[in-house]
Structures are given as structure tokens and as C-alpha cells.
């Protein structure tokens, strides 16, 4: 199954992945409304760390043996058996953020419920990858095969 990987050497620190992630996870799906007017403000599930000299965008690795799923006290965090995607059920999540406290990659954000990458719900290509101007984010199989 495919995962998003980040290539630091190519990351421009433009943070457009964040902008487009917010858009993809907004109600309007409109870059302008999503990033400016929508309430509640959609959260980006990908975060760029670093500065212009060295930066990288990080989002959920969708681990094989996810600590967040094990730590989830409500059963809201699950790993889909077929797609391998780790999802949060926002109705079940009470926002305790134990998942955040155990994620070794720092890929979960706090919100009313836990906020994390859902690979755009198995879209062909997640929004962050699609919109990365320098292909610093790639969506590939673990073996590294492209698409």
C-alpha cells in the first residue's frame, strides 16, 4: 500500500502542502474559502518543519503497528485492514490526545478530536502530494515503486 514520504532535500518550505491539506479537509473544498473564511478553520494534517535551508513536510506514517491505535482509549483510532490507513472516528474521539502523546513521529494534532492525515481518504493522490511544487512529497508503495 502507498504511503506519503517526504524528501527533505527537495522541500522548499513553501508550505503549500499545508494550504492544500486544509482545503482538502474543509467543507467548501475551496482554497480561498477554506484558508480564510471557513469556521471552524480546517486544520492542516501535514506540517512543514524547518526553515528555508532545511525543511520537510511531515504527516502520518500510517505505521504497520500504530501506537496511536493501541493507545486510543475510545476505539476512535483504527487502522483500516484493507487500505492500512489509520483513521480517527471523530464521533468517538473525545480529544484526550493520548494518541498525540505516543506518536513517535509527532504526526497528530490536537483539536476537538485528534487531527491527522487520512491520505485524503484513499484518493488517487493526496492533496499535499498533488500540490507539492517540487515533488518533495511522494506517494509510493513501501518498496518505493512510483504509483
Amino acid at each position: 500500500m502507498k504511503r506519503i514520504y517526504a524528501i527533505e532535500e527537495l522541500c522548499l518550505n513553501c508550505r503549500l502542502c499545508e494550504v492544500h491539506c486544509k482545503t482538502a479537509h474543509s467543507l467548501s473544498k475551496d482554497v480561498f474559502k477554506a484558508n480564510k473564511y471557513e469556521e471552524p478553520t480546517p486544520e492542516s494534517r501535514v506540517t512543514v518543519y524547518g526553515n528555508n535551508f532545511a525543511s520537510a513536510a511531515l504527516n502520518c506514517r500510517h505505521c504497520d503497528d500504530p501506537k496511536c491505535v493501541k493507545a486510543c482509549i475510545t476505539g476512535a483510532m483504527t487502522k483500516d485492514k484493507t487500505t492500512g490507513i489509520v483513521y480517527v472516528n471523530e464521533n468517538k474521539c473525545i480529544g484526550c490526545m493520548t494518541c498525540l502523546a505516543v506518536c513517535p513521529y509527532g504526526c497528530i494534532k490536537q483539536g476537538k478530536a485528534a487531527v491527522k492525515c487520512d491520505l485524503c481518504r484513499n484518493e488517487n493522490e493526496p492533496a499535499c502530494v498533488k500540490n507539492c511544487p517540487n515533488h518533495a512529497l511522494i506517494y509510493v508503495d513501501k518498496g518505493g515503486e512510483e504509483k
Binding site: Y5, E8, A56, L58, I73, G75, N91, C96, V102, Q110
Partner: protein, 421 residues
């Protein structure tokens, strides 16, 4: 192979599911004294304040148990474990087992107080049933008092404050949340809770006596003589491991059930134990203690389940990690917090309502307390868990931890996994 698991919360469920992963055919029966399918016990405070509906509290869909072949028996209070005949008795039924796992969790600890026991408005707060009962009793006119300023007590107080006219918390210790917070941070939290939740604290106090009328408490007298009105009393002083069954059948028990720290096997080779009812060894200081926290219970349940099914998973990393919030104030703690000694040091960064305290053991991270600054706390947790030498880091540990905390080869692995790009 017949597996019996007593208790259906974090450890019990994890244990059952792990067994199924490794043994496709074994007969798995989970006995729970509660009348509900496995649900999120920590969510009962959210339930109390109305943030979550009951149907969203169940950990799995009921179809999950059918498809996984896990037989859950609700309302089955186990009375006896008969090690000789390898059976357990619950109600009128006897369940034979080849492997047994005890995941009985905790029971509330109620300190002796005059005129409290048996009063119909004096309740504990540990399971869904109790939460439902409280919810029925509490109303906007209620003056609630919570005894205990620990995790359960404070979550209960928060829940009640959304419903009741007033909430008082009585705590013996000099600060609230003593198990997860140090004194300084506890003060910050307390202030926040007082402002946001209008909760009144009575620290370094105990209730000596209750006044009652018609089998209902109407007020409480504190150690210092103060009297506070009360028409709903919550007893949340603390919990103790539920070890009664184990003790009765002669297993080794101290504060909790004693198990092999790796395999969760008890002194009886056919019997395992996992979760809050056991004694854990804190990997960080080697101390034996009760780590009554969800992730620990799940890990223990998985290890026990695997071992029972002949698998190889063991547990060797027990430590406490906890995340909680009060009125939007996020608290995240992990590892050793209230430790003393020359080998420990700590550093606190305080900036407005953001508080970050890191506890070090030599050149390693041993614990943290994060208030409103818990972003990416898992990276700290991982540093604690792996015992990484902090001198190998390239970034500032006190910034929000992120991949750039690590040197490039480590960082690359975080970003690219095993990919060779």
C-alpha cells in the same frame, strides 16, 4: 484451546484480539461483570458532561466480536477461579479454561468517613453504570462535592461543573493531580480550573464527617471544621488493583497481581494477568508500581494474549504516559515526574499559559510535563522510551519537537522510512 479472559476493558479486549491474531481456532470467552459490551471507560467523564453519546463509547462494533469469534459474556461476575479443575465460575455457569487471563482492573478506594457509607447520594465514579447514575442524580440545583483531586476526581468534577450549581473538590495532597503533576504546574492547572469551571478547591483537607437527612448527605464537615453543602458526593480518592479473585485462588499478589514482567504470566503457568490489576515494572527507574493507564494495559493485554496463544510478544517497556484536558487546558505527562535524587535534573520553560518541564536522568530524557504545549509530545515520549542520548540531537529540545530535532540520518528515516530515494 479454550481461553478465558476475565474483564473486558483495555487489557481484556487487547488480550482477546491478540489471541485471535495468533490462534485462529481457539475458543475465546471474555467474561465481564458489566452489562455492556467493551466500552471506553475513560470516556465516562465525557459522557457525564454530554460530550459523547453512549453509542459512540463502545470500543468495537458488536459485529466485530462475531466476526472475530470472541465470545463476550456480559453480566458475568466471576466468583471463583478453580486452578485444580481449570475452571472459573460465574453465576451459575462454569467455564473451563486452558489459559486464563485476569484483567479485572481497579476498584475504587474509599477512605473511612463518618456517615457516608450507604448514603444514596454518595457514589463512586469508575464505570458507565456509575456515570449513568450520577447523570440521573445531578441537576442544575445540585451542589456536588468530589473527594479526590486526582485524574478521576478532576475529570468527574469537570463533568459535574457543566451540570451542577457548584462543585467542590476536597484533596488531601497539597496540590491537585499529584500523580501526574508537580507542584508548580499543578498550581497553574488549578488556577485555570477555578477560573473556567468555577470549582472550589479544598486542598490538604479531608472529609471527617457527613451530615445527612433521609439517607441522603446534605453537607460535609472538613478536617479544618468547615462545613460545605453537598447533595451529591463523589468518592474519587483513588483506585486499587482488583486482586480479590487472584488472592482467593492463591496466586502471588502484593499491591497488585504479580506477573512475570515480560510475559505477564502469574505464579500459575496457565494464568496470566494484565492491566491495572497487575504490578508493573517501570522501565525508567525499575520500580514496581501500579501503572493504571490505558496504553500500558493494552500493551500488557497484547503480551499476555500472545503468550497464551503460544506467540512471542513480550512486554518490556512499561512506563506511564497520560494526556488529559480540563476546559481546553491540555496536559500531557510521561515518565518520571515526581522523582528526587541527584541523578535527576529538570528544566522548566514557562511562557504565558504554556508550561514545559522536562525531567532528565543524566543525558537522557526521563519524563515531561507539558501544559498547553503538548504539540508532538509523542516525540518526547519516544525519546524517553528509546532512551536516546540527548547529546546526539541536533535541534533544541525545548522547541516543539519535530524531525529537525534529530541528526540527518535519523531524520531521513523518519521522513522516508526504509525507502532508498
Amino acid at each position: 484451546m479454550k481461553y478465558i479472559i476475565i474483564g473486558a476493558s483495555a487489557a481484556g479486549l487487547a488480550c482477546a484480539e491478540q489471541i485471535r491474531k495468533e490462534d485462529k481456532d481457539g475458543e475465546i470467552t471474555v467474561l465481564t461483570k458489566e452489562k455492556y459490551l467493551p466500552y471506553s471507560r475513560p470516556s465516562i467523564s465525557s459522557y457525564l458532561k454530554g460530550a459523547v453519546k453512549e453509542n459512540n463509547m463502545y470500543l468495537r462494533k458488536s459485529s466485530h466480536y462475531t466476526s472475530e469469534g470472541i465470545h463476550i459474556v456480559t453480566g458475568a461476575q466471576v466468583k471463583i477461579i478453580d486452578r485444580k479443575s481449570k475452571t472459573v465460575k460465574a453465576g451459575r455457569k462454569t467455564y473451563p479454561y486452558d489459559k486464563l487471563c485476569i484483567c479485572t482492573g481497579s476498584k475504587p478506594f474509599v477512605p473511612p468517613m463518618k456517615n457516608v457509607d450507604g448514603k444514596e447520594n454518595a457514589l463512586t465514579f469508575l464505570d458507565l453504570e456509575s456515570a449513568k447514575r450520577i447523570k440521573r442524580l445531578a441537576n442544575p440545583r445540585t451542589r456536588a462535592v468530589v473527594i479526590g483531586g486526582g485524574l478521576i476526581g478532576m475529570k468527574a468534577a469537570e463533568g459535574l461543573s457543566k451540570i451542577c450549581k457548584s462543585v467542590d473538590v476536597v484533596e488531601l495532597a497539597p496540590h491537585i493531580l499529584p500523580s501526574i503533576l508537580d507542584e508548580k504546574s499543578a498550581k497553574t492547572v488549578k488556577k485555570h480550573i477555578e477560573t473556567e469551571g468555577h470549582i472550589k478547591f479544598h486542598l490538604e483537607q479531608t472529609v471527617t464527617e457527613a451530615k445527612s437527612s433521609k439517607n441522603k448527605i446534605i453537607s460535609l464537615i472538613l478536617k479544618n471544621g468547615d462545613e460545605i453543602a453537598c447533595n451529591l458526593l463523589l468518592l474519587a480518592v483513588g483506585v486499587r488493583p482488583e486482586t480479590e479473585l487472584a488472592e482467593k485462588c492463591g496466586l502471588e499478589v502484593s499491591r497488585g497481581i504479580i506477573t512475570d514482567p515480560a510475559t505477564m504470566q502469574t505464579s500459575d503457568k496457565s494464568i496470566y494477568a494484565a492491566g491495572d490489576c497487575t504490578v508493573s515494572v517501570d522501565m525508567l527507574d525499575g520500580s514496581k508500581k501500579i501503572i493504571a493507564l490505558w496504553p500500558n494495559a493494552v500493551n500488557q493485554g497484547i503480551a499476555a494474549g500472545s503468550q497464551m496463544a503460544g506467540g512471542k510478544i513480550t512486554i518490556n517497556k512499561s512506563f506511564s504516559v497520560n494526556a488529559i484536558d480540563f476546559y481546553g487546558l491540555r496536559i500531557c505527562t510521561c515518565g518520571l515526574i515526581n522523582v528526587q535524587g541527584a541523578k535527576y535534573s529538570d528544566k522548566v520553560i514557562c511562557n504565558g499559559d504554556r508550561y514545559k518541564r522536562l525531567i532528565f536522568e543524566g543525558g537522557r530524557l526521563a519524563g515531561y510535563v507539558l501544559i498547553n504545549s503538548s504539540e508532538n509530545a509523542g516525540i518526547y515520549t519516544n525519546l524517553i522510551e528509546t532512551g536516546m542520548d540527548l547529546s546526539s540531537l541536533s535541534g533544541n529540545l525545548f522547541d516543539t519537537p519535530n524531525p529537525f530535532l534529530f541528526v540527518k540520518p535519523v531524520r531521513n528515516k523518519l521522513l522516508k522510512g526504509e525507502l532508498d530515494l
